[in-house]
Point group: C2
Chain length 457, copies 2
Amino acid sequence: MSSLLIIGGSDAGVSAGLRARQIDPTLTVTMVLADAFPNYSICGLPFYLSGEVGDWHQLAHRSLADIEGQGIQVRLSTRVRDIDPREHTLRAETASGATEILAYDRLMIGTGAEPVRPPIQGLEQNGVFTLHTMEDSFAIARYLENSRPQRVLIIGAGYIGLEMADALSHRQLEVTVVEQMPAVLPTVDPALGLPLETYLQNHGVIVHTGVRIEKIRNSQADDRGLRVIGDHHFEKEVDMVLVVVGVKPVNALAQSAGIRLGVRGAIQVDRTMATNQPDIYAAGDCVETYHRLLNRTTYLPLGTTAHKQGRVAGENAAGGHREYAGSLGTQVVKVFDWAIARTGFKDQEAQAAGYHPFTSEFRVWDHKAYYPGARELVFRLTGDLHTGQLLGAQLMGHWQAAVAKRIDIFAMALYQQMSMAEVLNVDLSYTPPLGSPWDAVQMAVEDWIQQVRAGNP
Amino acid sequence: MSSLLIIGGSDAGVSAGLRARQIDPTLTVTMVLADAFPNYSICGLPFYLSGEVGDWHQLAHRSLADIEGQGIQVRLSTRVRDIDPREHTLRAETASGATEILAYDRLMIGTGAEPVRPPIQGLEQNGVFTLHTMEDSFAIARYLENSRPQRVLIIGAGYIGLEMADALSHRQLEVTVVEQMPAVLPTVDPALGLPLETYLQNHGVIVHTGVRIEKIRNSQADDRGLRVIGDHHFEKEVDMVLVVVGVKPVNALAQSAGIRLGVRGAIQVDRTMATNQPDIYAAGDCVETYHRLLNRTTYLPLGTTAHKQGRVAGENAAGGHREYAGSLGTQVVKVFDWAIARTGFKDQEAQAAGYHPFTSEFRVWDHKAYYPGARELVFRLTGDLHTGQLLGAQLMGHWQAAVAKRIDIFAMALYQQMSMAEVLNVDLSYTPPLGSPWDAVQMAVEDWIQQVRAGNP
């Protein structure tokens, strides 16, 4: 009887454990967690902090009992200190400070990511937070409860930054968002980021773009206040600062065990999710991600990816043979009533990958305008001028206009490397309240084709 | 300079005309319509009759001016009497009764379909209607306005029948639906039809299934009333009857010109949409439809299909080379707040096509349940037990739960003949308010795989 040890109890770890037990029900699977929160939805933290999710326990994808019910032994609050790949053992420290040696036949590392701490003076001050773990969110919840901040400044207008702007507006705080790039949500084109900025402002969010924050000081006027200072003479007094400028892989444990690191310090894995050390797999936010369109690895930490990679790692660790099919970089975020989504490449990414991209913009109703409640969708489609291949799609509109699932239609097409013209062939559904005889996604594709035909690019 | 003549001005005809002009802007394109309503949305008629669309002019996909603006000459109220394929001419009768001979280089027939009139006695009576054309809907609108019926009986619980049940409930009429099959909406499994029946009843619709209507008589009690009589002792007194039991191809003109007919009397076409007569194309509700999964033709008249076929016919008529990619039978209908959708095969259809199908049923929330507003989705997935190939999907749930676009994800997979396991590989979007790390569609697929693995079938 062989054993699988899993370090980390978030998406990748739990997926690996469940899949391994599915493949080989005789396998002994043990999951070692540094904290006490197995399988919590990190993506759900903003909705807990907004007050929309009343009880943080609801954020668990699965309860501890569910996981144990699948035959996975779980060791909470146990921190792995080092791995000995030759001996197939690891040394762990329990909550009480005791040290244990644990042996494994196969090991799966799912240590995840941690927030990037940018070079800003004063990040250690009271009232300054990052947001990535359950502990982070408890600290923020306590501060919101006890210190009753009125004004919050969010550094970073990515997915989490904008979700938190929504969440804290929901709690009636005055929210300021500061983004170093020229437009909010830099993962999509500024052509979408700029109207989104106006939309945020219409919801009372103060937005500053093109500003780099340099230091955070105690206020002289107000002993609870924080003075946030940036370039271009930016200065703002607030009661709370949230630093959400991205994450980086947690890699120290792997590195010290002689596991090779790759892109941006992420653990190097092949498509079976194996590392360079024998019998050691890794998955999730701590690893490089194979990108299906790039046909090479990149760093793209996402929950969806962690689940898929964990599943592959678990299958292979249990003796299976599976390759990770690759990420397309599909993402969606809901901010107030808008959803903004993307999949595949933006124009400059396609160019960097050696394509000859053209990106079109197209606006259309989500369903037949004669039926009440039609919402405008804004598409930005990227395709290759030489081959007509679809390379990427961006979409923004009201969340009820099926933005997320429409971007998934493009994800399906990208997965199969379909051409723009071929997307027009697909028999998609139609009824006037929910679509058009050619769905909005197909009308956007037709517009791309016609723009290319007309020699627009 | 060559000429294209188009008979019919609905989806197929207009699509053919527009595409032909795109391919060859020098082509003379003339469209001959029997009525005065080019490019009207037949699918929109229930929403006009419900009162949700205030003005019937809004139902036009394009105005006459739009069509003419694309260089298409339109002849309204002109009925084609016969076609001479050898001479490349047709004889038409104008509104004034004059006869004209029109010559063509290429001809495209888009005569559409007409309602099936079932063998029921008394269909000719005042207060009994079919619904397929603009004229039909005007007649119904006038009757609703002038005769103020209180009680309506709808024969047929297909898409139009259920949309009209919703529409006339919206107008505060007492609505009874009678369906000959054992469950409403026979295009999906009774496992969905039966809960849908309860849902209709909860919205005040009276539903009778397994009843075949035999005659409609004048009421003895009420001179305005109609007595509707069926088998199993069914009798009901109402003020209005709507007969919506499907459509059949309008084929007499084609047949008299020596054009070969196929499945259910529909015009036989190859995948270029060419008929057996030289230079004559046909598309839309009057033709056989190539089914991509069946790899043969069937009769499946839908607006989406008519647009795609018309486009192919237009391209080829203008000298292009394009094949129709085929239908997947993708359909969706909104009834009150539910959407019910399908694509591909149901179990018995897959069996008839030579597969070894297994159909699973799976219920899941549309998004993470911890975020407010989660709605239950019911999936029925059909796949092949030997190969794991996805063969079909049915889905029912609240329309805001992206039912239509989720069925389209399956349509994309069917188009590419993907296996169930491969659907799990695709990087679909996720944010807690709009989905799950494995989207609901993927959870349903995983459930199908696990049921097969567990030897459920």
